[in-house]
Each structure stands twice: as C-alpha cells, then as structure tokens.
C-alpha cells in the first residue's frame, strides 16, 4: 500500500490541493487574526502621521502578485484617505500604477467613501511608471519632477497642485513599498533609506518577505507585512476587512494539506525503506 502511495499520480495530489482551496470558500468560519510585531510597526507609523502628511506608495508588482499585495494596497489607501493623508503613487513595474488605479476604484466603491471619495490631485496623484529600476529611486532622490515629467494621465507633473513643494524624498513623510521582486523593497532600502534617509515600510509577497527581515531588524525598514497573512493583519488594524481576511480560511486549509502531504510522503518512504 505504501509503495502505491509513493507512486501516486500527481494529478490526484492536484485534485486534493484544489479541493483544499475551493471548499473553504463556501464556508463561513470566523478566524482570529493575530498581529505580528512587524505589521504593528507599519500601523503605528501611519497612525503617528499628522493629517496632510505625504505618503509615497510604490506599487512594484503585477497581476500574479495581486492576491497578496492588492489587499494591502486597498487597506493602506483606505486608511490614508480616511485620515487625510496625501498619497503619491509611483511604480517601478509598469503594471504597478494600473494596479494602483484598481485599488483606488475599490476604495471609491466602498460605502465609507461614498460621500467623500478621494479626488485626483487633491487626495492622491499617480505619477505612473518609469523604467530604470533602482536608478529611478536614485533620480527621485534629486528630483521627483525630472524623474517623472508627466503623470500617468500624461499631464506635466509640475502643473499638479499636490506636487507643489514636493521635490525629493525630504518632502515625503513616509514611503510604503508594495513589492513582488526586483526592483522592489531591497532597492528602496539601498537607495531611498540608506542614501536619502527616507522612512520606509514594506508589503511583500511571502516569497520575498523572509529575505527582508534583516532590514527590519537593522531598523532600515519601519515594518513589514508579508504575504496574505500580512494583508489580513493590516486589514484588521486599519479596520477595513477585505480579501486578505476572506482568503485566510483557504490559506489555512492549504497549509494543512501540504503538511499532511509531507508527513504521509515521509511516512510512506521510511516504511517502505524499512522493508
């Protein structure tokens, strides 16, 4: 029997994985989301900002990473707009500003913001994407206007109301980077934090998050939200629940099924080896 288990068709494993993710979607079980210290730091920093403070959000991800990072983006945007923080959006990935637009649409469709929706060039601006990876950050250290001569709508950035007095990182109070890889959080730490002394928090995909923990420990990052759990924690802290919390039940089942697979696989291996 254990021999057969070891040689099982991988399509059967795929079916188990699919069921583990799909079935919980039909269940309504409330889960307690515990908040980790590094996500708490992000919220505490945002909470410490005065109304009118300038928050730069760097959308450095594409649609594949959206299930993890989009809920973080929506949660942070909702918090910023609710507390009158001015949001400046840029992207080191071309898909980033488009993901930002989708997040803004999500905010506008929230009944909380029905009477007071965020207004372009009053509450937020989207400067769009610029190729150059870390050189874009280097350029922003000197001048935002030279690095982004036009916003994503094609309007000259020096004509934007919100860009008045915003020259470089010294005019920004807090940076939140949502990153799925390169260029991303590592480049923001290397250039924006260590060269231009900006204050930075990061939301990362779970693949990347372990690699940036040393920056949190060294104080180079003011907080880190990793993966879907990080998104759920942020949603809990800011009080706007969304897909991050909704998907945690499927995530729980997914982790359980992988653990079961590893245990069963190892058990079958060691038992057949003993024979």
């Amino acid at each position: 029997m254990f021999d057969k288990l070891l040689k099982i068709d991988r399509r059967i494993i795929f079916i188990f994985v699919a069921l583990a993710l799909i079935v919980p979607m039909f269940l309504t079980i409330t889960q307690h989301i515990s908040v980790s210290p590094e996500v708490q730091i992000i919220y505490d920093t945002l909470k410490g900002l005065q109304p009118g403070s300038k928050v730069l959000m760097a959308f450095d991800y594409d649609p594949p990473s959206a299930p993890e990072l989009q809920p973080m983006a929506v949660a942070i945007l909702k918090y910023c707009f609710k507390n009158n923080l001015k949001v400046y959006i840029i992207g080191l990935w071309p898909q980033g500003p488009m993901q930002a637009n989708m997040a803004i649409d999500n905010v506008i469709s929230d009944p909380t913001f029905k009477d007071n929706p965020p207004i372009y060039d009053k509450d937020y601006v989207n400067l769009g994407f610029m190729s150059g990876n870390e050189l874009v950050i280097q350029g922003m250290g000197s001048s935002f206007l030279h690095t982004f001569p036009r916003d994503y709508l094609g309007k000259p950035t020096h004509q934007l109301e919100m860009m008045k007095g915003v020259n470089n990182f010294s005019n920004i109070d807090f940076i939140v980077n949502l990153s799925a890889g390169y260029p991303g959080t590592v480049e923001w730490v290397l250039f924006a934090v260590d060269r231009f002394h900006a204050k930075l928090a990061a939301g990362n995909t779970a693949v990347q998050a372990p690699q940036v923990y040393p920056y949190v420990h060294a104080g180079q990052l003011s907080g880190l939200a990793g993966g879907l759990k990080g998104a759920a924690e942020l949603e809990k802290l800011v009080g706007f629940y969304g897909k991050g919390t909704k998907f945690m039940l499927s995530q729980s089942f997914a982790h359980m099924i992988v653990i079961v697979f590893i245990i069963v696989g190892n058990a079958a291996y060691f038992i057949t080896r003993k024979k």
Binding site: L6, R10, I13, F14, F16, V17, A18, L21, Q31, H32, S34, S36, P37, E38, D62, P63, P64, S65, A66, P97, M98, N101, D105, G128, M130, S131, G132, N133, L135, V136, Q138, G139, S142, H146, T147, Y152, L153, G154, A206, P210, Y213, P214, V216, H217, G227, K229, M248, Q251, S252, A254, H255, M256, V258, I259, F261, I262, V264, G265, N266, Y269
Partner: protein
C-alpha cells in the same frame, strides 16, 4: 576597438558613480544626474530590444516552418492585439484610463493569463513536497520542522491547534520568533556574503577584468 571602447565607457561611468557617492558636489552631482537620466532612456530601449527580438524570433520560426511554428503566429497576434489598440485606439497618453482598449486587454487577457501562470506553481509545490521532501538527514529534518512551524504559525489554525500552550508559546508567536531571530541570522549571513561578492564583481567589471558580458569578437 570593439571591446576597448565599451570597457572605457564602463570604467568612466562606474568611477563617476563611485566618486559621486563620496563627493556629492560639482561636477559629480551634475554628471550623476545626467548619466541617471540617460540610463532611464537606455533601459527603455533595452526592454524594447527584448520585445522586438521576440518578434524577430517568432517571424524566423514562421518563415522556416520550425517546430510549433503556428504558435509563433499566436505570439505575434498577441503582440499586435495589445500594441495596435494601445498606440491607436486608447487615447494616446491616457492609454491606461479605465475603459480604454488597452485597459480592457490588460484586465481581461494579460491579467488572467499572467496570474494563472504563476498560480500553477501552487500545485507543483504541493506535488514536490509529497514526492521529494524527505527527512533523510538531521539537517533536512531541521529544515522540515522550521517549515512546519512557519506554515502553521502563519495561519489562524496554528493558534487554534496550540491554544493549550501558554501565551508566548503559541504557533504564531513561535513562528514570529523563528522569523525574527534564527531565520534573520541565516538571511543576514547570506546577505553579507552576497554583498561582498557583488562588491568584488562590480570592481572587476569597472576595472575591465571581467569581460564576459561583451561576448565574442
């Protein structure tokens, strides 16, 4: 001169950036700003090169009737499907506005395709965990245990299963401790090692000792 001039360019540009780090005053700050703004444009052309090369390779495949050549037609069709509406029918500089043809193709073609491509990895991770992940040695067992603690600690069910343990020793707290201390220590060692490697490789490139990126004659 086909290899010497690029090496000289590399050295001049490389040293400019290094000196500018320590001497951020005239003329190095002006030079650095100039070079950076040039680089933003050259990067764009480099990515354009990749896209145009893809078209070239696909056209070659079609003309030579290579294996799977009909799919090369689909590749070119996909490229034109987004490029033509993007350039001609999406309002010019406002091509990303919701409702434009470009945005439609991004939301309904590009986004589902790219998302699903990466989502497939979930199945392979589970399959690989079952078939290949074996606790044959002490080190492999340690790796597995760390993975178990982190996987259970990062979902609410971990705290439910460890609710009998005292506060501070539940799954989520143990996962937090593992991530913040031993995991960070290991990552830090890797990070420092890579940083030293990057420093030495960068120096070799700037000094022209490393020339493999230039290719053959």
């Amino acid at each position: 001169m086909r290899r010497e001039i690029p090496l000289i360019i590399t050295a001049i540009v490389g040293f400019t950036y290094i000196i500018q780090f320590f001497v951020p005053h005239w003329p190095f700050n002006i030079l650095e700003g100039l070079l950076t703004s040039w680089m933003l444009i050259i990067f764009a052309f480099a990515i354009w090169l990749g896209a145009l090369n893809l078209l070239k390779v696909s056209l070659d495949k079609i003309s030579k009737r290579s294996r799977d050549w009909p799919y090369a037609i689909i590749t070119i069709a996909g490229f034109l499907m987004i490029a033509i509406p993007g350039f001609l029918f999406s309002g010019g500089r406002r091509f990303q506005d919701p409702g434009t043809a470009f945005d439609y193709i991004y939301q309904n073609v590009y986004s589902p395709l790219s998302s699903t491509m990466f989502a497939m990895l979930a199945f392979y991770v589970a399959s690989a965990s079952y078939r290949a992940f074996r606790a044959r040695t002490k080190e492999a067992t340690l790796l597995l245990l760390a993975a178990f603690f982190v996987m259970l600690g990062r979902v609410p069910i971990g705290d439910v299963l460890s609710s009998f343990l005292p506060e501070g020793f539940r799954m989520s707290q143990m996962a937090d401790w593992i991530m913040n201390y031993p995991q960070t220590a290991g990552q830090r060692a890797i990070m420092i090692g890579i940083a030293l490697g990057i420093v030495s490789t960068s120096l070799r490139l700037i000094l022209g000792i490393e020339r493999s990126h230039l290719g053959g004659e």
